[in-house]
């Protein structure tokens, strides 16, 4: 086997742990540095998955011991770390969103475009093999021309109040995944309409955010995309995609851990609730996301979404936010 890719990991929260776990299953890479200003977190992660520990990103880049980095730290640090990676000529996989402020993203855009350092964005849904298979079959013409896309995406429960305050709102935090998923099928989105609502969470209302939302996108070929979101779902994580075309329909339903169904005097054909949340539903996708990034690190063709995809998703999320406030559809031009 060729030499292992040495990875520096920034951030050791929930998603940082996921990436560390993924790396542990991939022979071609090894965790060389774990970096977190909360040094205890870094130490615990390094103890379990290996690597040296630091609270200082500069130390990591300066060490010369990272062939690539994964940015799983708080959103506000993303732009700075991606820029350091570019400057250090180190490939980077950055969690979404690049930033909550499109101005800061745009400020980095030219440098990202000019650099040939691979920059991958952490849109995990693009790596779910069911969605990949769905896209393959759409591309293969199984449903003719794609005309409508319906994404129903509901989290099992709302995030803690502390998280809500910094999340950037439902569109930039939750919907952004579905906006990128829409672009996985229809890259050129030209218009965004959105309505938000507050139906169940006082916490969300206090955070001046919506707990429910419906977004309509229009593609350049007049495709219509519908995204239905809720911050809670009593029956588990609800993740469905329906692609409707001129000659048929393809649908990805929810995933269940068990094949056991139950018949009783009360109900029949019943199956247990769905997988709880994204760590379970997209466990494999997170692993494939890192594996695909490693291909880019090796200079191989890679289908990882990149900086422009991260920027596009943020633009759509911002447009959704604006539309939800004003009631007016917002035209967007992702290419300009």
């Amino acid at each position: 086997m060729t030499q292992q890719i040495r990875i520096g990991l920034f951030g050791t929260g929930r998603i940082g742990q996921v990436h560390a776990m993924s790396l542990a299953t991939l022979d071609e890479a090894t965790l060389s540095w774990v970096c977190d200003p909360f040094i205890e977190g870094a130490k615990r992660t390094a103890a379990e998955y290996g690597g040296r520990v630091s609270a200082d990103p500069e130390e990591v880049f300066a060490s010369g011991e990272v062939d690539a980095v994964i940015v799983a730290s708080p959103t506000a640090t993303h732009v700075g770390l991606v820029e350091m990676a570019i400057d250090s000529n180190v490939p980077v996989l950055c969690e979404k969103p690049i930033d909550l402020d499109i101005a800061r993203v745009d400020a980095l855009r030219a440098k990202a475009a000019e650099s040939d350092v691979p920059i991958a964005l952490g849109f995990n849904k693009r790596f779910d093999r069911h969605f990949v298979e769905l896209k393959r079959r759409v591309a293969a013409g199984e449903i003719g021309a794609l005309e409508q896309l319906v994404i129903i995406s509901r989290d099992p429960g709302e995030p803690p109040a502390s998280y809500l305050a910094e999340s950037g709102g439902i569109f930039r935090d939750m919907t952004i995944h579905d906006l990128d998923l829409a672009r996985y099928f229809i890259p050129d989105i030209v218009e965004v309409s959105a309505r938000g609502a507050n139906v169940f969470s006082e916490n969300v209302r206090q955070a001046d955010d919506f707990d429910s939302a419906v977004v309509t996108l229009r593609g350049a070929n007049d495709e219509l995309v519908t995204i239905v979101n809720s911050r809670h779902a009593a029956y588990g994580y609800d993740q469905r995609v329906e692609a409707f075309g001129s000659t048929g329909l393809l649908h990805v339903g929810n995933k269940n851990d068990t094949l056991v169904r139950h018949w009783s005097a009360r109900a029949v054909e019943a199956i247990g609730p769905y997988q709880n949340f994204f760590l379970e539903r997209y466990a494999e996708a997170y692993r494939l996301e890192v594996a695909e990034f490693l291909r880019a690190v090796r200079g191989l063709p890679s289908r990882s979404p990149g900086f422009e995809d991260g920027r596009a998703a943020l633009i759509l999320a911002d447009a959704a936010g604006m539309s939800a406030r004003t009631g007016a559809a917002v035209a967007v031009d992702l290419a300009s």
Copy 2:
């Protein structure tokens, strides 16, 4: 419209009522006589569906006012009434079984064969449009050569003790429907094996009968048929058929009254229990059974099962009973 066919109905129990109801929906026929020694039953039925009333079958046949008869009276009277119908040159639709005693059936066999009076047997499952469609698609070659047939058939609850005593046992009373259904797909059955069991009903055990049974049939082309029966099912009437062939499988599942499914924290995709019992599940089939018989009465080609089908089902049921007692497979020759 041509003149209505005048029907004489023998027996006004549950199944007699079903046939009277079916006739009421069929413009081409009318109920002209209702005959039951329990004269109050006859009167009630006639009051609702029309017709003259009698306690005496001979009066009905002698009236000259019946173009066809339906025999839905107790099993012991079937042979006598069918014989009277033949002698009177009146087409007859007879409920299954023809008799509990194959000797009595055989005694009538020659006369039935020599007569050209239409004799139809009340095997309602042959008229269920889902099973008809299944057979059409098997015959159309959708699964290649038919190799295996799996029939799962469970009643919602055991019959009352009084009925059990006269039922002739599970094979001649309940399994007989599935034996005929098997012959709908594979007419030439050459061997019967059966195992019976007593797992839940003390009443059934007292009646020296089985509450559960499994029957294996062999067709002339070495097809294997599996019939699984139970006298109860907590979740409703369970009626499934699976045809397995060299290039695929066709399956008829259970029928549900509602399209509403429920998702909750406890279970997902749950739907209400199945239709309660045969009167609901086969309501349409009973109507089509009578309609098909009326075609025969009019001299049109008819696919109603006939006397030989009734005899064959009884032979198979008897063979199942013998096999269940002795533990040995029983060879049968339905043609001889």
Copy 3:
């Protein structure tokens, strides 16, 4: 039985035929007059279902032989016929929409409100027993508070060009059924957003109409309703409703004529395409719609939608049309 209700039918096109058929199955009513300026149509319908024939509505009302009327004539005649029914003190079941022009509807509104003549609107989906069951279970609290409603409704194929020209556009012709269905669950709608698209039909584009649409409604309690429409669907008539609430979800899927599923080397668990179109899918609902109207005619409590429901649906359809043109959400006040 009490005396039969004598029905006058206006219009003998496709939907007029459906109502005539429904009446033929209902013992309590009889077709007394069939009225159509296309007198051959009236004659054919009367020949099959009974009744006297006229080309002149005034003759029908003047005859004194109608206890109630059904208006299934072209939309432009609805307001006039409903007004004649009110003036004649004759209960009326009117097909949707009341008119394509809300001003004409509003002009009739006060008279309709002041009269105690029953006025029922032909929103057939409210009578589908699956949707009725869905509503019953939502009302019974099975999913807690209703938060989101997702209606996917796709016709099998676009209407002929001649029809398109007079249809009033997708929102007033097709979506209007789903708008009313939304109000069946959430009567008080306060806001409408809509996007239309042209993805497949040159005919529809020529008619200056949309072939696809997505509508978002907001209820008074901040419920969000999503309606996804297309004028074609390769796999048959697509009619689904999903009610999402605080403690669960209830879903009505598509209806299939057969229970037969197919397994092959290419695909498994496949079932035949859905029922072709509304005449098949809602056959029973059309019958129940008329039956419910007859209850109102008899002075019994009736759950038929009324004039205000017809007006509300048209207001919502108009608001959808305006939103689709301007890109802005439209506030509506159905009560004023």
Copy 4:
């Protein structure tokens, strides 16, 4: 971590490879010896998964470098290798069947019983988490008393002629898995009935074997078990289990790799064929089977099936073979 368990592997055919792969994913064990008289196979496996190579089992046991062994060599060698393991005081996981000849199994039985060396049998289906969950829920009383078990088990395609000749016949080669699975739910089987058939394979007929079979078992509490087998299935590996009880039913359906379903003008709700065969369908179960064996090696409580289970399955398979030949049910006493 404690020291790794050193495993000696006998046999490097298909199933030997599976076990080597499983070991590679289990941190607690390592492959120390790979033994196969076909030394090239041993070398290839050791090259990929590690371990020393030998053609001679005695060398392996004598090395003192095996803490446990896995027997995946041809059936005829099983008894000898298990005996060597017992004599060497080395825990052994032996593939099914122990032998094709019950006399040879019985000859080893006393020694196996007297020894406290863990002996596990390779009945992989007991480790499928869906069947485990099914059993857990049956045991938890979700369907009341277990009354019937229906196992439908069809291989995708018949084995090569060379394999057929040595397979011991369908009952000892294929059905044996389902016989053991039946005993997983109902350990005390008292009677076996079986019918075999030849419907599609000339090769199988030449080998004097059946290509299709139906087996009925009776449990000590009069439970009835139905096993339906075929050596081919056009739509993939068919593995279903249905447990029917006094208050309900639990069912494990087939497993599909994809969540994508397809709707077209020809068929709707269609999904791709099932996972091809046991290596795919039971991949995880094979891993858990080895993991559970390792628990026994460590002296921990283990739910691995043992020698008596292997013997019982063979007795049932032999009884099925005899019943299929004679047509008579065969009483069995697994305890004696």
